[in-house]
């Protein structure tokens, strides 16, 4: 919303408004509820828009018609930060609230895959190491794997989980080749295309925004692999098991200490300029800090808690509300 004519609603707002990631949404709603129950005031409104669309709203400007908090399943991008600045959103507080693991999983009755990022890269990239992908079965990728057809259900192109898949797994597998490092220096675009593009000829199936459905599909289809947020794996222990990557099984512990390669941090971004005018915003952020600890309820909701040092650092930020240093962004 361009501030120009946004005057009509420029007045007060007596609730907190958060937008952004659908991954963070379940946790944010839980925090909002606890905040409201603790007598903090009217229940915050949490909109599930996706990280990027949320950023656009968040950075739209300062005032009652713009959200106070952005939930993100990735860090804010430099371009987004600049947009914020341009619209007068000067100081943004970045708080890491926890971790989400992108879990690879199969049905309990599955063949028992053991994979590495390289295997996955070779199986799912559109052009592994610059050549078109011809792999049909897992054995084509790595002879030690079962000769089952490659079939991976994963998030759609519009999801933050998909970005994490590309950056954390595919790119990691890709970078094992030194030639790629070189390519990164010479031709950034080409590097991105080679290391991050996902094949579209069938083995990777876009399963839609609804992670529930992916879970169902995997449990019905023993030969398929699913990619989704760790919380889904945790809440379906009867039907699914995690697939080890680099011999690390996706468990709560392995994700929280980042030994599992598919771990990514979750953030909330808070508009500092709103701290005064929006009643209870500080309390709401404090509520996050209460909730993300090892005994907090977010753990029960399926969030992976951050390591102690990250928690301490985040708690410090929450207390002092130090603004984000843009020089660390890319």
């Amino acid at each position: 919303a361009c501030g120009g004519s946004g005057g009509s609603s420029g007045g007060a707002r007596d609730y907190i408004h958060a937008v952004g990631s659908s991954t963070v949404y379940p946790f944010a709603t839980a925090v909002a509820e606890a905040y409201a129950k603790a007598g903090g005031g009217k229940s915050p409104v949490i909109e599930s828009t996706g990280t990027g669309a949320g950023m656009k709203l968040f950075c739209g400007g300062v005032g009652a018609s713009f959200p106070d908090v952005e939930n993100a399943s990735r860090r804010i991008k430099k371009s987004e930060f600049e947009d914020c600045q341009k619209n007068g959103v000067k100081e943004i507080v970045e708080v890491q609230v926890g971790i989400d693991g992108i879990a690879f999983a199969e049905a309990k009755t599955g063949p028992g895959f053991k994979l590495t990022p390289v295997d996955i890269y070779k199986a799912l990239a559109a052009n592994p190491f610059g050549k078109p992908n011809t792999a049909k079965t897992w054995a084509d990728v790595n002879p030690s794997l079962p000769a089952e057809p490659i079939l991976v259900y994963g998030p759609p192109s519009t999801s933050g989980t998909r970005d994490a898949l590309k950056e954390l797994i595919l790119e990691a597998g890709c970078k094992t080749d030194p030639a790629m490092e070189a390519l990164k220096k010479s031709d950034e675009d080409k590097y991105k295309a080679t290391c991050q593009d996902i094949r579209e000829d069938g083995p990777y199936v876009d399963a839609g925004e609804n992670d529930n459905l992916i879970v169902q599909k995997i449990s019905q289809n023993p030969k398929a692999i699913g990619v989704f947020g760790y919380s889904f794996l945790e809440s379906n222990p009867d039907s699914l098991i995690g697939i080890p990557l680099n011999n690390v099984v996706p468990t709560y512990a392995s994700i929280s200490d980042f030994s599992y390669p598919g771990a990514r941090p979750l953030y909330i971004y808070v508009k500092k300029q709103h701290l005064g005018p929006i009643k209870g915003l500080q309390d709401y952020v404090n509520e996050w800090a209460k909730a993300w600890g090892p005994t907090g309820y977010l753990k029960a909701k399926g969030m992976v808690i951050a390591p102690a040092d990250v928690q301490a650092k985040s708690a410090e930020i929450v207390k002092s509300m130090t603004a984000l240093d843009p020089s660390t962004l890319k």
Partner: protein, 295 residues
Amino acid sequence: MSNPRWQTPAALRRIARRNAAERRFRLLGLGAIALSLGFLALLLVIMAKNGLSGLNWSFLSGSDSTDPHMAGVWGAAKGSLLTMLVTIAIAFPMGVLAALYLEEFAPRTRWIEWVEVSINNLAAVPSIIFGLLGLAVFINTAGLPRSSPLVGGLTLALMTMPVIVISGRNAIKAVPPSIRDAALAVGASKVQTVFHHVLPLALPGILTGTIIGMARALGETAPLLMIGMRAFVATPPGGLTDPSSVLPMQIFLWSDQIDTAFVENTSAAIIVLLMFLMAMNGLAIYLRNKFEVRW
């Protein structure tokens, strides 16, 4: 001494065959209806099976929550109610007046033809496109608050108005010209004729169309996705500009929840929504039957 030409074995066989074909065709028709309604019944039974146990007072009076046992539909229902209020307050008068103009007063010019084509077309434009329009006009240009029943209602009003215009025109057309002649012949002006006679007589028909249009708007989700109503709102909206959800959106949000206990909630909310809709449809049918005049 009956006619021998129609009594030959060949002729009798032929008639028997044709009568059998007749019966088959008739059964086919009955089958088609049975199948269609069977599907409806199946849908209702499944929803009832999954959801009836979840329908209790706390569900009906609560609002959205992350805890499936605490979650309820009142917040969303109130959002729906406010949204519908806005929709009907705008779409009904505008729809009726436009229908009156087009049917009774409009000169047959190219311009009016464009208006007619637009209206008929708007009635069939995919609802999601109205969402895009609502986003562009009401939120981005007019700066109205996101996620609010006000914007939702305005967007749905744009969508519902053509439906009301079309049904309104049909209802107006159904008022026999002899009534207009009668009024004109005692010296009523055209405007008097229309507002004293035609409109009151067409009103039941217009209302029926309006209820059906409103029922459609009540069940609409896609355009509201675009204007920020896909949100967690744990307090029922207090006014038209408060953020809120609506019933179908609540169903959509719950259907995506990890916790399988939400399946019951989703189905229960569906039952609530369907009851609303059936009540509205029932009312429309009642009105239609009660006021249907055979001229």
